[in-house]
């Protein structure tokens, strides 16, 4: 403390930044943004407890209807250790949902890539599908949930279809963009040398398409997951979305909040532990393409100044993650 004081006393107070150094340590710590960030969590907990009390008092019902942070923590701990009142424990429900997500993901990638390549290569094919793909892109997951649950009933088919329908427009649009950004020269040259169309697709198109395919996979997974949860909620008999609704129907707020946290944690893990390292590994050989510049005339994305320097993928994800 004294060392800091003498040091700052010796230094000439020319820049405004230096002058703050003269503040006593306690005050400096109090003012630091890092402390503020740490303080956020206790502030939320206190706010939570106070508003619990206020709500219970003002409406005059038993406050046990509301959940306390400790209850939520206990619930999450019990779920993680596999101890649950619900028909299936956390791992089983997420397992069921992940299987559906995987199946839907594979279908949407295969069909979407085929359609996307077609749309990128031929203007006629593009014009044929364009408006419908754009409409699909803006369709809320809720619409599919209600529609498909009536047609397909409770089972695996509805959720898988929902994943496909939610993810496929993003795959198509990205792949199409990838095809359009393939180096024209290489294509022309291979045509001039009489390379067969199949070989051309394999050796010219696919390598340059790869970053776009990866971005498409990312979308298909994260948006498909959101669609999956919603359809399981309305037309399912098991899976993560259904279990979420199970706690809602049982009117157990701690269960609903706990499951919400699992969803958020799952999304974070999927993004940071699974997708991010894979993308870093896969694109190590071409660092400039680590973040492909995906441009799309997306009906659902508003062009807006903020985040303009970030890749468009973040924007879409933000928009789409909400429904």
């Amino acid at each position: 403390m004294t060392a800091v004081m003498t040091e700052s006393a010796q230094s000439s107070p020319q820049s405004p930044r230096r002058s703050t150094r003269r503040l006593p340590l306690a005050l400096r710590v109090l003012r630091s943004p890092r402390l503020a960030r740490v303080l956020f969590l206790p502030a939320v907990l206190i706010f939570w407890l106070i508003s619990n009390k206020l709500i219970a008092d003002s409406w005059g019902f038993d406050s046990s209807v509301l959940a306390t942070p400790i209850e939520v923590w206990d619930f999450m701990y019990a779920e993680v250790t596999g101890d649950t009142v619900a028909p299936a424990n956390l791992y089983q429900t997420f397992g069921i949902s992940l299987r559906r997500l995987g199946l839907g993901f594979v279908i949407s990638m295969t069909v979407g890539t085929t359609l996307g390549i077609g749309m990128g290569l031929s203007k006629a094919v593009n014009a044929f599908f364009h408006d419908w793909v754009m409409a699909l892109l803006a369709m809320p997951a809720l619409a599919w949930a209600l529609f498909l649950s009536l047609i397909l009933g409770f089972g695996d088919k509805g959720p898988v279809w929902a994943v496909v329908l939610a993810g496929i427009p993003f795959v198509i649009v990205n792949v199409r963009e990838g095809v359009r950004s393939t180096p024209r020269d290489l294509f022309d040259m291979s045509t001039a040398f009489g390379v067969s169309p199949l070989k051309r697709i394999r050796h010219v198109l696919l390598p340059s398409l790869f970053p776009f395919l990866f971005a498409a996979a990312r979308y298909a997974l994260s948006i498909g997951w959101k669609g999956l949860v919603i359809i399981e909620l309305f037309g399912g008999q098991d899976g993560a979305g259904w279990t979420f609704k199970f706690w809602y129907d049982a009117h157990r707020l701690h269960g609903v909040i706990g499951y919400s946290m699992f969803f958020v944690i799952f999304a974070l893990v999927l993004e940071n532990v699974v997708l991010e390292p894979i993308s870093r590994r896969v694109f190590k050989w071409r660092p400039s393409l680590n973040q492909p510049d995906i441009v799309e005339e997306d009906m659902d994305v508003v062009k807006y100044p903020a985040l303009a320097d970030e890749s468009l993928s973040d924007r879409d994800t933000i928009i789409q993650e909400k429904n």
């Binding site: 203007k123 803006a138 609704k245 958020v264 508003v302 993650e321």
Partner: protein, 268 residues
């Protein structure tokens, strides 16, 4: 007869345009045709009503006066929700000018950006029940961060020179904000608004499914429970078309008009 290069280019372009329009119209015919054909053949008509049936149902609902009242209820909720979200989000964005508050709210904004609306819808439904501020808070919690991010971004690019000059000339805080900060932020505010609307309408419909006795979401849910697929489809499509129209045509037009004086923004 000699053909100039210009004519060749023109002819090629014309051909290109016809190909594009023909395939586009063909696309509509094939998709709508398949849909109409599949209804009653591939799936029962009750499960997959065709486009003509949907149009009929829409007219029926309109004659019953249901459409107007449902739209009214939903739109009121959207306007209220987005307005509050906008105020909260903008206030937070202004607060984060301060480094301390920026640190404090950092995680709140990250959570607000990443958590899906469904979570908030169910939590607020349990806490607030059918009270009107339940859905409202769900909409606010889902969309406020988008406004905050935009406002904060706008603040990050504030013209520092002008502000420094204002400070040097001892212009008051209120006037400084009124004449420098707000005009600079206007485009960011506007896009923040559009952005929160595009998410807001989806969340609103979702809240209505759980905690409302009026509105489009409520009608959709009732139709689903009663197994009226044609009504489900009609509500979905009506609102989908409306929201897209509002977002892409109305808001875009307003924005273009509003920022005509700043060409670099109006052009986007």
């Amino acid at each position: 007869m000699r053909v100039t290069e210009e004519e060749l280019v023109k002819a090629a372009r014309r051909k290109d345009l016809t190909v594009r329009w023909v395939s586009r119209i063909l696309g509509y015919i094939v998709v709508l045709g398949t849909w109409e054909w599949a209804s009653g053949r591939v799936l029962e008509e009750n499960l997959l009503p065709g486009p003509t049936r949907v149009v009929q149902t829409a007219i029926e609902l309109f004659n019953k006066g249901k459409i107007f009242s449902a739209f009214e209820a939903t739109l009121t909720r959207i306007v209220l929700g987005v307005a509050v979200a906008f105020l909260v989000g903008a206030a937070l964005g202004i607060l984060t000018q301060n480094r301390w508050f920026a640190g404090f709210f950092k995680d709140a904004i990250t959570i607000g950006l990443t958590s899906p609306g469904l979570i908030w819808v169910l939590i607020t439904a349990l806490v607030f029940g059918n009270r009107w501020y339940g859905p409202l808070s769900a909409i606010v919690l889902t969309t406020f961060a988008l406004v905050t991010v935009n406002v904060a971004e706008g603040i990050g690019t504030l013209p520092k020179d002008t502000i420094d000059m204002a400070k040097a000339f001892k212009v008051g805080v209120v006037r400084r904000n009124r004449h420098i900060v707000i005009p600079h932020l206007a485009p960011f505010l506007f896009t923040g608004f559009r952005f929160s609307f595009s998410i807001g309408w989806k969340v609103t419909v979702l809240t209505e499914i759980f905690t409302a006795s009026s509105g489009i979401g409520f009608e959709m849910r009732i139709a689903q429970i009663l197994f009226r697929q044609d009504e489900v489809l009609t509500w979905i499509l009506l609102f989908f078309v409306f929201a897209l129209f509002f977002e892409k045509v109305v808001l875009q037009a307003i924005e273009n008009r509003f920022f005509r004086w700043r060409k670099e923004i109006a052009s986007t």
